[in-house]
């Protein structure tokens, strides 16, 4: 009886929290198909905002930039984050594990401002390079954490076994360790990619004049008022994120579930 009541509480609580998360997004998506220039009241179904969006050279340019930045920064952070994750697992230094969490947990505003100050201090010209470096900086943590969690469930003696069965240290790393932790690496890499595409705050601080990404472009569109074109752009980003997140979840259930 008691457990029945409790499970109902969890069920309704769960439904409520999902509605809370997704109603605004669903409304946003619905209005991207609304045949009206302003976002008040449903008029009728149309795909014309998507046509407008894809004809908008600036938005497309920003979108391509976002993808290139995400691809570059997540590639770099996959390599560095994997090495970091392996090191975290092998040398269990308590402070280091906490330090890796900081870029994930720290307010984005602080990370953005501190990166901006750092770039100015070393006279680094703000532009796409600075955005890529900034994104790499926070993405490494996500990859390292994903790899470390993957290694936590791993049998450490497989590396010893590989050496024992004739593999050099490099072959043991490349043929045994990397394939075993690959789901963690991919999951971390996809997280890094998604976060890079979505990031606004840190990008806002580290972008130079003329360099733009999709979130920055949408933000500047908002200044002219919220048109359904923004909804259409946002819808595409949401669906893209959803795809990557579900692949990441599938690959590494123990990390994200």
């Amino acid at each position: 009886m008691q457990t029945n009541k409790m499970s109902k509480v969890f069920l309704f609580g769960g439904i409520f929290s999902f509605l809370f998360l997704y109603i605004p997004l669903i409304v946003l998506i619905l209005y991207s198909f609304n045949n009206s220039k302003i976002n008040v009241g449903w008029v009728g179904f149309t795909l014309k905002w998507y046509k407008v969006l894809f004809a908008d050279k600036e938005i497309i340019h920003a979108g391509v930039n976002s993808l290139l930045i995400a691809f570059t920064s997540s590639s770099i952070s996959v390599v560095l984050g994997t090495l970091g994750g392996v090191a975290l697992h092998r040398y269990k230094i308590p402070l280091l594990s906490a330090l890796v969490m900081v870029p994930v947990a720290a307010p984005e505003l602080l990370v953005g401002v501190s990166l901006l100050l750092f770039f100015l201090m070393i006279n680094f010209t703000l532009g796409y390079a600075s955005i890529i470096l900034a994104h790499t900086a926070f993405s490494i943590s996500f990859v390292a954490i994903a790899v470390k969690s993957r290694m936590f469930g791993m049998d450490d003696s497989i590396i010893d076994a590989a050496r024992d069965l004739g593999a050099s240290p490099f072959k043991a790393f490349w043929l045994i360790l990397i394939p075993t932790i690959l789901p963690g690496i991919i999951a971390g890499g996809l997280m890094a990619f998604t976060l890079s595409v979505d990031d606004f705050v840190i990008t806002f601080f580290t972008a130079g004049v003329g360099s733009t990404t999709l979130p920055l472009a949408i933000y500047s569109m908002l200044k002219m008022g919220v048109t359904p074109e923004v909804n259409a752009a946002s819808t595409i980003i949401i669906l893209f994120t959803l795809c990557l997140a579900s692949i990441a979840t599938k690959l590494s259930p123990q990390i994200f579930k």
């Binding site: 497989i158 010893d160 050496r163 069965l165 004739g166 072959k171 690959l182």
Partner: protein, 367 residues
């Protein structure tokens, strides 16, 4: 001919002396066991043979060649790990082929050899499965096949059966002995399980605190333990206080538990002195019980005693007797009557008999 020579090997982790100047010669074709409690250094010694740990001092020779400083991949020996350590992203066949690929065998030769090994361990129909799709016993057999596929000179086994349930473990005991006889590969086996060690080994080294307590054949280790630790670690053992009364030739006369006088043969008797205190060790199953003093052999020592309590074990009953002066004596009596068991009840008077030669004297230096 010794295939493996361990010469004065020592290893220290921080302040902890894990392996303390150990020397062992292991013969070709032996099933050699390193037995001891956790932390006795047996696994560290095994890992030093495998090359996964480097000794601080000493030498390890395999087939006369010094391998002390060779990396693990260069040593012609393999290890079976406690967790089996199968590669999770490879099929059974790919796992078994791994050492051959590392040794750069031809593809066709690899396939033939892997198929042969798969047949040997009866896993041919599972060759395309992944490790998480097979049972614990099957994983064990894959690990064995993978370690024997390139015919190593030596196979090291690190508590390989501890993850299996009791029935499967007993079955694997027989399989391992058979496998060792068929392949002729020398086995070095690490375990903390005394039954396993006694049943499988041709010789056993009992380790404690990084040193060898005793190295001998299983039956000698069990019936003639040299030290208090060995007597206590391998099965149940009565350890009774004993005083040396006299030594003549290779015979020593003892007073056991302040009351029983007996003489036993002991090659070390000349090193004892009169009045020396030690222990007399006697396994519980070496004693006979009767309600009357009607034992027929003349060489037996007979004591009158009282039953303190008993434990029914199915194949035998363990009695605890009171010898007075706070001295307890355990007796294991077989339950061989056909019409159920007749127990000697608590507080009943009882006669115990044993052949003095069934036990032996341990001097206190070995405590």
């Amino acid at each position: 001919m010794a295939i493996l020579e361990i010469k004065s090997v020592t290893k220290q982790f921080g302040d902890n002396l894990v392996v303390d100047n150990i020397s062992i010669d292991i013969q070709k074709g032996e099933f050699f066991t390193l037995l001891g409690p956790s932390g006795c250094g047996k696994t560290t010694l095994l890992r030093m043979i495998a090359g996964l740990v480097t000794p601080d001092s000493g030498q390890i020779l395999l087939d006369g060649v010094d391998i002390t400083n060779l990396p693990p991949e260069k040593r012609p020996l393999h290890t079976i790990f406690q967790s089996y350590a199968l590669f999770p992203h490879m099929t059974v066949a790919d796992n078994i082929a791994f050492p051959l690929k590392m040794a750069k065998w031809d593809k066709s030769k690899i396939d033939a050899q892997v198929n042969e090994l798969l047949e040997d361990v009866q896993l041919s129909q599972f060759k395309d499965r992944y490790p998480h799709e097979i049972s614990g016993g099957q994983k064990q057999r894959v690990a064995i096949a993978r370690s024997l596929v390139d015919r190593p000179k030596l196979l090291l086994l690190d508590e390989p059966l501890s993850a299996l349930d009791a029935r499967l473990r007993e079955h694997m005991h027989m399989e391992l002995v058979k496998l060792q006889e068929e392949t002729g590969v020398t086995f070095v086996y690490v375990t903390h399980d005394q039954h396993e060690a006694l049943a499988l080994s041709s010789r056993i080294a009992v380790l404690n605190h990084g040193t060898i307590e005793q190295l001998d054949k299983p039956d000698i280790i069990y019936s003639k333990p040299k030290t208090h630790f060995v007597a206590d670690f391998l099965g149940k053992c009565n350890l009774l206080k004993a005083e040396v009364l006299a030594t003549t030739g290779d015979t020593v006369k003892l007073r056991v538990a302040d009351s029983i006088e007996l003489s036993i043969k002991d090659p070390a008797s000349s090193s004892y002195h009169v009045g020396q205190i030690g222990w007399y060790s006697l396994r519980p199953e070496k004693l006979k019980l009767s309600s009357e003093n009607n034992f027929d052999a003349t060489n037996l020592s007979v004591i009158k005693s009282k039953v303190n309590g008993y434990y029914y074990y199915g194949n035998g009953t363990l009695y605890e007797l009171d010898l007075g002066n706070n001295t307890k004596l355990q007796v294991m009596a077989p339950n061989h009557t056909s019409d159920g068991v007749k127990f000697f009840v608590d507080n009943s008077e009882i006669y115990v008999a044993f052949d003095p030669e069934a036990g032996n004297f341990l001097d206190t230096s070995s405590c």
